[in-house]
């Protein structure tokens, strides 16, 4: 950069101003400052190997837009992809609020100066509490995976605090494979995560096997998803919780938040810790960047003490009817007590928490009910239509599903990958190819709908598959 070049993000790059600062410090150049404190052998002598700058906003926007225009979005092609990231209606006010400069650019201001932020986050947790029927809701975590990881470790700590050294976590073998591997790596030094098989005919958790594992007496927690990663409802939810409790294990459940206007919360089916992702509540897909997790429980001290995240609490004030909010009991977090904390903790996903609050306040109970309703109806229609095709078996387990359905292409003579590539020609993103994640299922894909999926898109998919598999 020429000495006289002034950058709009750097007011003190104006030579005269810069000189005033240098004069105040009694130095000739900034180099003189850093050469006095950084040893010579550590100073980088080269010029960073980065491309030359694009100076104007217009050119920068054009440059980046030209690159992004190489993408094809789900607004251009009909999409049947889900698998942990869901395209839903994003109410305009969600975008309006999370792009407000005050929320967008705030950070860790506290009770008095960021009162609005604190209230918005406490309200988010409160509305999640209603959706989940839970008393305690954490500050947002990185994603569902992180929430599952921390829930597992919470369970181990809860057991340990009660004097029980139990370290096995039982999970269904149909669970989200990415989250399984995340949790396996995250918990390796404190727990063993064991997969419990499903019943081959139904996909549901093998209860006999679950009981046998629990009988060993070393199980800290039992985990299930509802609906499962493969789309079907785990109908035995209450029985799983009952069995877990019979053997003094914690019951952890991951519901799909978009189902909870119509489907029962796991809290009311006996679960002790409920965790998951709020991306469906007002976050755009963003190539997977809108994920944010939650952890919830009942108002029980032995659970609350084990949360590893920030918790926003409400406080009375010296003015009747006015409340304040604060991040509380921070000794649980690494910010508060370093290596003595429950787990590490960092900057996670506050803006998505506020956005989910706006979403839930907009949707209300009726909106959440209709959301679940439309998804159920659409998915059922898609399942029926797919089963009209020869060589295609949708919902091979014959269960009730929510939002996603397993589609078996093993009899079609084509792989799930080949079918998806062919669907691109029809401007369709087919369901997620599961052949790598679940080799035992052969050539299967996970098809997803939402309230945005139209009958026309589903009919077009069936037509396209009909042509491809002809």
């Amino acid at each position: 950069m020429e000495r006289s070049f002034v950058h709009p993000y750097m007011p003190n790059s104006v030579p005269e101003v810069k000189q005033q600062l240098l004069d105040e410090l009694g130095v000739k150049s900034v180099r003189e400052i850093y050469e006095s404190i950084i040893p010579k052998d550590l100073l980088y002598k080269g010029r960073l190997d980065l491309p030359e700058p694009i100076h104007s906003e217009y050119e920068l926007k054009k440059h980046v837009t030209d690159i992004l225009n190489k993408n094809i979005s789900t607004e251009e092609y009909a999409s049947f992809l889900g698998a942990g990231c869901y395209k839903h209606q994003v109410p305009a006010i969600c975008d309006e609020i999370n792009t407000r400069g005050e929320f967008l650019t705030a950070y860790c201001g506290d009770t008095y100066s960021d009162h609005g932020k604190m209230q918005a986050i406490f309200e988010y947790a409160s509305m999640m509490g209603e959706l989940l029927d839970a008393d305690v809701v954490s500050y947002t975590t990185y994603d569902a995976g992180q929430s599952v990881c921390s829930s597992f470790r919470m369970a181990v700590r809860i057991q340990s605090a009660a004097g029980k050294e139990k370290s096995v976590i039982l999970v269904p073998d149909t669970m989200n494979p990415d989250i399984f591997s995340q949790a396996d790596a995250y918990c390796r030094n404190v727990a063993e995560i064991e997969k419990v098989p499903h019943v081959p005919e139904t996909g549901l958790l093998d209860m006999k096997e679950l009981k046998e594992r629990l009988e060993k007496g070393n199980v800290a927690a039992v985990f299930y998803e509802n609906p499962s990663y493969l789309g079907f409802f785990e109908e035995q939810a209450e029985e799983i919780a009952r069995l877990a409790h019979q053997y003094d294990a914690v019951c952890i459940a991951q519901p799909q938040v978009s189902s909870l206007g119509i489907a029962e919360s796991p809290m009311n089916l006996g679960a002790d810790i409920v965790c998951g992702d709020i991306q469906p509540l007002g976050m755009h897909l963003q190539y997977g960047g809108g994920q944010a997790g939650f952890i919830a429980s009942r108002q029980k001290l032995e659970y609350m003490e084990q949360f590893p995240t920030y918790m926003y609490g409400i406080a009375r004030t010296d003015k009747e009817g006015a409340y304040g909010y604060g991040r509380a009991m921070n000794y649980r977090c690494s910010h508060g007590s370093r290596e003595k904390a429950n787990e590490y903790f960092g900057t996670e996903t506050g803006l998505w928490g506020i956005t989910a609050g706006v979403y839930l306040a907009s949707m209300g109970p009726q909106g959440m009910y209709e959301l679940g309703e439309t998804i159920l109806l659409n998915l059922n229609y898609l399942t029926l239509r797919l089963n009209e095709l020869k060589g295609v078996k949708a919902n091979p387990f014959g269960r009730s599903n929510f939002q996603e359905v397993l589609v078996d292409f093993n009899d079609s003579g084509k792989t799930a990958g080949e079918i998806n590539r062919a669907l691109l020609e029809h401007r369709i993103f087919g369901g997620k190819d599961l052949s790598r994640e679940f080799p035992g299922l052969g050539q299967c894909a996970l098809y997803c709908v939402s309230e945005l999926t139209t009958q026309g898109e589903m009919d077009a998919l069936v037509d396209a598959l009909g042509q491809i598999l002809r």
Binding site: H55, L104, E339
Partner: protein
């Protein structure tokens, strides 16, 4: 020219906004939901029959019922009761790098061609975003001197976590994992360093500053052994003092067979001046929402980058983004990888902003960030240290890098006014409250400003003048400062025990209501 406001007649918005659960009326709707078509309804029947009987929700969630304008207004008011970097001189949140986040970046991340991309799309349909991610990684290699980068981490702490996982994987491969169970860090390094190490079961050894404010070299020598897995260290630490013996630290740990991990969460004072690899480090990490300028979003989403040397390249979090000469692709073929840290591929919106930021500045512009943030910091320190009662412990007369840890100890001793009082009082002058210190407070009555390169001389003059005025108040009318804030969004003082006593503690409205019963 050179004008800045003294004693700004400020008052934050104060709406006394009710709690959302108390607002609205049964039946109001904020947004309507797309309905299934007639034909779909005909074929599917009743939705409630598509759910197993025991799983049908028995009681509707008690969410608010509000019309759209009322929801919008409520949140607009709450936003006005929040002080973001966009509306204040946000120098006080030191270590957080509260720089300007360019608005053009916000237009970029809101493009449909990005916002509506699904992470499981065929790679041929996401070549644009993969190109951005790939190039980000190449730029970070140039900036760090490292050989492999993973953009999986969803934040700085998760990037540190990835580095600890890499330490574990490296020693497991060497068969030394059981023996090497200690990680050394410093008390003024970010708490995520000991936090992540302990999460993975490492014993943490903490070095304290010597009389010069730098981590104690003798203590390091005493700490290293055949049990040392790694040193995890920040430089400069929160004090802003550049650790000029950093190479010695690295050499001592390497000689003991341990790895060295540089916490470069805050790169602002270092861009183009020094590189992690050149100081001998095996790994480092960046918080891309800090020095690479993404808005902090009320604590996230951020993004982290894990950067490692060639020897450790095989372990980084997967997938990485690679380029085969014609197309970009996600590389999962990494058998030794520590695996996935987060769903999908990190936080791509932050990666787009980082890309645009680097492209808008170029190599010399990036170096200017470091130069101007160092210049600003030392200018501001000089101004602040003219204030009675405020001092800068350690290394007197030595320039600082991009931030500094100051202390109000003298003022507290003389007036009884503490840093926490001043932290509340500064809000009355139109600034966000400030960052004192991570816990524990090694230095008494701490205050950690960080005047990054996007603040002007006038901004810094206004900022320093406000503290001079508060110090004056502390000496003349201390009760005024202790009773602050008066002009913040929340106009009443909270009962602290609601946040410190478990029996009075509630994280949701329903729990709070239940406590009252």
């Amino acid at each position: 020219m050179g004008y800045y406001k003294k004693n700004r007649d400020f008052h934050e918005a104060r709406w006394d906004e009710p709690f959302i659960m108390e607002m609205g009326n049964p039946g109001e709707r904020g947004v309507l939901v797309p309905q299934a078509s007639e034909k779909v309804r005909e074929r599917s029947g009743e939705a409630s029959k598509l759910i197993p009987a025991g799983l049908l929700r028995k009681k509707a969630p008690a969410l608010p019922e509000l019309s759209q304008m009322q929801v919008l207004r409520h949140y607009m008011r709450l936003s006005q009761e929040t002080i973001g970097t966009d509306i204040n001189i946000d120098i006080g949140l030191g270590t957080c790098t509260m720089k300007y986040s360019p608005k053009i970046h916000e237009q970029l991340v809101r493009a449909e061609k990005f916002q509506e991309l699904h992470p499981c799309q065929d790679e041929s349909t996401v070549q644009g975003i993969l190109e951005v991610m790939y190039k980000d990684a190449q730029y970070l290699k140039a900036i760090s001197g490292m050989d492999q980068v993973s953009l999986q981490p969803a934040g700085g702490s998760q990037a540190i976590f990835a580095n600890v996982q890499t330490i574990r994987a490296y020693f497991e491969e060497k068969g030394e994992a059981d023996k090497r169970d200690e990680i050394i860090t410093t008390i003024l390094s970010h708490p995520a360093n000991p936090g992540t190490a302990a999460t993975l079961g490492y014993k943490v050894i903490t070095l304290y500053p010597d009389e010069n404010g730098l981590p104690d070299l003798a203590a390091l020598k005493a700490a290293v052994s055949e049990r040392t897995a790694a040193l995890m260290i920040t430089n400069p630490e929160d004090t802003g003092i550049y650790n000029d013996r950093i190479r010695q630290f690295v050499d001592i740990v390497h000689e003991a067979g341990g790895l060295c991990v540089y916490d470069q969460a805050n790169l602002n004072g270092v861009f183009g001046l020094t590189r992690a690899r050149d100081a001998g480090f095996d790994m480092c990490h960046y918080n891309l929402h800090k020095s690479f300028s993404s808005p902090h979003g009320c604590q996230g989403p951020g993004a982290g980058a894990q950067c490692v040397s060639r020897e450790l390249a095989q372990y980084v979090a997967a997938p990485t983004v690679e380029f085969d000469g014609t197309k970009y692709y996600l590389d999962y073929q990494r058998p030794d990888s520590i695996g996935k840290l987060r769903a999908f591929y990190g936080v791509p919106s932050v990666l787009i902003r980082a890309y645009a930021y680097i492209r808008s500045l170029g190599p010399d512009g990036m170096k200017s960030i470091a130069e101007l943030s160092i210049l600003n910091n030392n200018y501001l320190i000089k101004k602040l240290l003219k204030i009675k009662g405020l001092s800068m412990p350690f290394a007197e007369g030595r320039f600082r890098m991009e931030q500094a840890r100051l202390s109000w100890q003298e003022l507290t001793e003389e007036t009884g006014v503490t840093t926490d009082d001043i932290c509340r009082r500064i809000v009355d002058y139109g600034f966000q409250d400030y960052f004192t210190s991570h816990h524990p407070r090694v230095l008494p009555e701490p205050f950690t400003p960080e005047p990054v390169e996007t603040y002007s001389k006038d901004d810094m003059d206004e900022y320093a003048a406000a503290f001079a005025a508060i110090a004056e108040e502390a000496y003349t009318q201390p009760e005024l400062v202790k009773g602050a804030p008066y002009k913040a969004a929340l106009g009443a003082r909270i009962e602290e025990e609601c946040l410190t006593d478990w029996s009075k503690f509630a994280t949701t409205w329903r729990a709070y209501q239940a406590l009252g019963k």
